[in-house]
């Protein structure tokens, strides 16, 4: 038992050393690890010599190994390459803006490359379900019962009237159908008019056109869940042939996650021409409202009266479907608004602490300073938009309720962090040359605040200004002050 525990602890210690070694630059890693392993061996050997090998000794070994992280960090600081990815942000204004532009381009590229984000973005802009209505017989107890015959649908489709722009029909096969070669699993397949997805403005992902040999096959659109579960999320699935029962279908693409809001669960939609649907088949009708129809449809549910060939009245119920979550740009703008409101509570936003005794910079300099600040904020907001999109819609759908919260949280936090940084950065940039002030020096003694000034002084490397930041804000010195250096300082900064 003691032996097993000892071996287990040894493995843990070796893993700790190996983990710490990853912090050490590659050129020194081998020797560093050799020394620590040798020392650990001697430590363990000394413990083994004692009669009682206790947990206390194992704990001492663990504490010894944990010290390796501090040593590794020292090596990293001393011998590392010193690559600091965000260093350009603290450099000259042009480098700072260029870096932000590059970051924006990278974020945009990610948005374009990530298939999930791209689809969700196009879906968000496509106004899916706008002015779409599900029509059912008013006498039916619920939305889930198919009540409208295909014959009735054809009649409406021929005579759309002034309230509707188009109709689509679908019915869900009962019982569920098995795919060829997998009798155990059964799928809910909907047979729908070929214009269903166009009518609802739902973009189909990975959309593929059929080859000439497959033209006679009907298209099938897979649900996102079905595609991930049974096809392993294969992005090259579009265009391949799927056999359901004894019929072949050509996979046209994948519907976005959560896009289906109609009654009954559906795994795939077979898009077939109207001629292929039986006239007596009962199903559901989806209608697209015209502008006049939209103005008449003032309630989420509206009674629709139709007149049959023998002047017989039929009552139907139209259920509006576009009560959807706000589009991503609206969520993003709300997040930015919240961040702007929260900013004064989290960061100092004051920018005008100039010394009254010194001269003020020219108008052009002031314009440049505020232009730089505006450029930073604009780029940060755009970066925030794309990063929050990437973070929110890589794994969630526009139709998912979580995506709204996730998008709001990410856009708010990134915007707040970004704006706080922009304010902090601007406050430490020389108003004359816009370079960051450097060489921080502590001045005065904190305990003598009432007798003298204490705080930090920073100087512009170009020799333009000196920045005083009080350690403790007082009534006579509450915010930072700039002191403009006159020509007598120039000899100190020749060449900078």
């Amino acid at each position: 038992m003691k032996l097993v525990a000892g071996r287990g602890c040894n493995i843990v210690h070796q893993l700790l050393l190996r983990g710490a070694s990853l912090l050490v630059p590659v050129s020194h890693r081998g020797e560093w690890l050799r020394e620590w392993r040798a020392e650990l061996w001697h430590l363990r050997n000394q413990s083994a010599r004692s009669a009682f090998c206790s947990w206390r000794e194992e704990f001492a070994s663990t504490r010894f190994c944990s010290g390796a992280f501090q040593d590794a960090l020292f090596f990293r600081r001393e011998f590392g390459s010193g690559w600091k990815p965000f260093a350009p942000l603290a450099e000259s204004p042009s480098k700072c803006l260029l870096f932000l532009c590059a970051l924006l381009a990278a974020c945009y590229l990610f948005t374009v490359i990530l298939p999930g984000v791209r689809a969700e973005r196009s879906l968000a802009w496509s106004h899916a379900y706008a002015d779409a209505v599900l029509i059912r017989n008013a006498r039916a107890n619920n939305n889930a019962t198919p009540t409208i015959s295909f014959q009735q649908f054809r009649q409406w489709d021929r005579d759309k009237g002034k309230y509707f722009e188009g109709f689509a029909f679908y019915r869900v096969a009962q019982p569920p159908i098995a795919l060829a070669g997998s009798a155990q699993k059964r799928w809910h397949i909907a047979f729908a008019s070929s214009n269903l997805f166009d009518l609802l403005s739902i973009p189909v992902r990975f959309e593929a056109q059929g080859r000439s040999a497959d033209r006679h096959l009907y298209s099938i659109v897979l649900s996102d869940e079905f595609w991930r579960r049974d096809f392993g999320g294969d992005v090259g699935i579009a265009g391949s042939i799927l056999r359901i029962g004894n019929r072949d279908f050509r996979i046209a693409g994948v519907a976005p996650r959560g896009a289906w809001r109609f009654p009954e669960k559906v795994d795939a939609w077979v898009l077939e021409p109207d001629s292929a649907i039986e006239p007596e088949a009962l199903g559901f009708v989806v209608a697209q409202l015209s502008s006049k129809g939209r103005s008449e449809m003032w309630a989420p549910r509206q009674l629709i009266k139709t007149y049959g060939p023998h002047n017989s009245e039929e009552d139907y119920l139209g259920v509006l479907l576009d009560e959807q979550a706000p589009p991503p740009w609206a969520v993003f703008l709300f997040g930015v608004l919240l961040a702007l409101l929260a900013l004064p509570a989290t960061a100092c936003v004051s920018m005008s602490e100039f010394s009254r005794l010194s001269h003020k910079p020219s108008w052009s300099r002031r314009f440049l300073r505020w232009g730089f600040m505006g450029g930073k904020v604009a780029l940060l907001v755009l970066i925030d938009y794309f990063v929050s999109l990437d973070m929110s819609y890589t794994y969630t759908s526009v139709f998912s309720p979580y995506s709204v919260y996730l998008h709001l949280a990410t856009s708010f936090s990134i915007c707040l962090l970004g704006l706080s940084w922009a304010c902090r950065d601007q406050r430490q940039r020389c108003p004359v040359c816009l370079r960051r002030v450097t060489h921080a020096t502590r001045v005065g003694v904190a305990s003598q605040t009432f007798l003298g000034w204490s705080g930090t002084e920073l100087i512009c490397a170009g020799g333009h200004t000196l920045l005083h930041i009080p350690a403790l804000p007082t009534s006579w010195f509450s915010t930072q002050r700039w002191l403009y250096l006159d020509g007598s300082w120039e000899f100190l900064f020749t060449g900078s």
Binding site: E35, A38, H42, N45, C65, F74, E78
Partner: protein, 105 residues
């Protein structure tokens, strides 16, 4: 490192320990009572400042004793001078970690 360089108490203790004959990292830890996270980085700094130097012991010796080879540390000339200055600054240093000669006396 100049002769009048001022070392921290920790660095001075490590120099004193090495001078006293504790030439391995773990033995310095045991002598000074300092944790590994303090001793090793401090030794790196001392080596960087050329106050000590390190060398791997010969593999044949380690193989003979059936153990891994260790890296040992020695004071440089500058290190010895700095240690002398530190002893004046920290008079208790020599009493805390007596050197081999002092022990024999």
């Amino acid at each position: 490192m100049a002769q009048d360089a001022k070392l921290s108490h920790t660095a001075a203790m490590i120099l004193q320990a090495i001078d006293a004959g504790f030439v391995y990292g773990f033995s310095i830890m045991e002598t000074t009572g300092l944790p590994s996270g303090t001793v090793y980085p401090a030794m790196r700094r001392l080596e960087r400042d050329s106050l000590i130097w390190s060398r791997w012991e010969r593999q044949s010796i380690a193989d003979q004793e059936q153990r891994p080879a260790r890296k040992y540390y020695k004071l440089t000339t500058a290190g010895k001078v700095t240690l002398e200055a530190s002893r004046k600054r920290y008079p208790l240093l020599a009493r805390l970690i007596p050197s081999a000669e002092e022990k024999s006396v």
